[in-house]
Amino acid sequence: MPSPTYRREMPQRYRLEAAKCKKCGKLFFPPRLVCAGCGSKEFDKTKLSETGTILSHTMIRVAPADFATQVPYAIAIVESDNGVRVTTQVVDCKPEDLEIGKKVKFIFRKLYEEGHTGIICYGYKTVLV
């Protein structure tokens, strides 16, 4: 991933920043220019809650090259306590520990490295609470 793209997404990846529609209150992660709920173009800055719930989960066993050494790793769709859904890894756990409905918290981790010489890509993941 080129560094300009990486830097642009930092507020979301590093700090879970989201946007809240001033008109209808819908939350967007990442922030958008137009509200998909009501069409409004005005937003307040907000953040995802630090904890959430697993809505579905899987173990990735065949991964793209950047993630190949990490297999198997767990991916879940998590709904934050303030109602925003994200796709995220659930780390430091065994496959059998995962269940729909379990609580997780967001943590800061390394996602992958661009080989031995490229940039190191960080962002959010989750662990079971």
Partner: protein, 382 residues
């Protein structure tokens, strides 16, 4: 608006085509379609392909294919909507003839996935690069998330998922163009290597090379040709959130539902009128969700409906008589038109051992990504 017909179709065998290049396979399928239609020229061409740039390093394939097919300087355009690129291309061909801009349009699809690229990565570019792929999710992973939620909510079982693959592999044994022409058992599917829990490699469509093409004309023009034509009765397309997690309900493929609705409306028919359907079974769970969204069964009942044999060749609504993406193969850009080729042959009565009896109305459903886009076409005999 003119009515539009498919007057010719052709496809390559799907599979690992080590001896043939991207341009070779497209030209092979196109020549078959042109020959089948018996037309002496082409006015315009649409080529569906997901990402030849990532798979073989080649973009701008519209001009390349027109050149190698010997039909340059006609206008040609590449269409991309992930795995439903060529299904969407058909829609553009339909519009072009319907509007009267052209009389004979070639619509094709192609993908060469086995030439050494990281296919897992290339396919994943159809998902949200920044908010899904960045986290390490893969396409099997996204469908596994749908599967887990569907099982949790509706009680869909592992066996029911496997039943989709068993049925499609069985149909594939009767399709000489299929990548896999062998039976699999429920046990084999369930005990195969996990790709993304709970989906195994036998729940998943393969990495394939292949191309498929059809020739479209107006229905009136088709009458001048001495070939059996099939009329396009309806067309519908829709989109949904690109990221699976942004959907209100991850077990609902809204784009499939809405594209189906639009096509049914245009055709003036209902789901029970469909005699044969080719749907986008990129993973076993996808076929279960799709037959629910298209109204062949109730929401949540796709598993038992399949298990009871309703979608088998001799069932209530035969689904994927070609073997589907699972057994026929899934060269992503080619899949949409390959589905049309199958339905046209079924409606012409040319499907050999896998012929659905008395098939008069057929449907194709082609999907992009994890359901971010979907296109449905309905065909009938003329």
């Amino acid at each position: 608006m003119r009515e539009v017909a498919v007057v010719g179709c052709g496809m390559t065998k799907f599979g690992e085509l080590w001896e043939k290049s991207l341009r070779d396979i497209f030209v092979e399928a196109a020549l078959k379609a042109i020959d089948d239609a018996g037309v002496d020229h082409i006015d315009s061409m649409y080529v569906g392909a997901m990402t030849p740039g990532l798979f073989v390093g080649q973009e701008h394939i519209s001009a390349l294919m027109a050149d190698y097919l010997g039909i340059a300087p006609i206008p040609a355009m590449r269409v991309e909507s992930a795995c439903c690129s060529s299904g969407m291309a058909l829609r553009l061909g339909l519009f072009e003839i319907s509007s009267g801009y052209s009389d004979i349009v070639l619509v094709g699809g192609v993908e060469k996935m086995n030439d050494g690229a990281d296919a897992t990565y290339a396919l994943a570019t159809a998902a949200d690069q920044e908010y899904e792929v960045y986290q390490g999710v893969t396409f099997p992973g996204l469908y596994a998330l749908i599967a887990r939620a569907h099982m949790h909510r509706y009680g869909t079982t592992r066996e029911q998922l496997a039943a989709v693959s068993v049925k499609n592999h069985h149909n594939g044994t009767m399709n000489p163009n299929a990548q896999f022409q062998r039976e699999v058992t429920l046990e084999q599917v369930m005990n195969a290597t996990l790709v993304a829990d709970p989906l195994t490699v036998l729940d998943s469509s393969p990495v394939s090379d292949g191309a498929a093409c059809v020739v479209l004309t107006s229905v009136d023009f088709a009458k001048q040709l001495k070939v059996p034509s099939v009329k396009i009765l309806g067309s519908g397309a829709a989109t949904d959130t690109l990221a699976l997690h942004n959907r209100e309900d991850i077990t609902t493929l809204k784009a499939v539902k809405l594209s189906g609705k639009a096509a049914y409306k245009m055709a003036g028919i209902k789901p029970s009128d469909i005699d044969v359907a080719e749907v986008h079974d990129c993973f076993s769970i996808a076929e279960i969700c799709i037959i629910e969204e298209l109204g062949f069964t109730e929401k949540g009942k796709g598993g038992p409906f399949t298990e009871q044999g309703n979608t088998a060749l001799e069932g209530k609504i035969p689904v994927n008589p070609s073997g589907g993406l699972k057994s026929k193969g899934h060269p992503v850009g080619a899949t949409g038109i390959a589905q049309v080729v199958e339905v046209v042959e079924q409606l012409r009565g040319n499907a050999g051992k896998r012929q659905v009896k008395n098939a008069k109305i057929g449907l194709t459903q082609n999907m992009g990504g994890s359901g971010g886009s979907s296109v449905v076409h309905i065909f009938t005999t003329t």
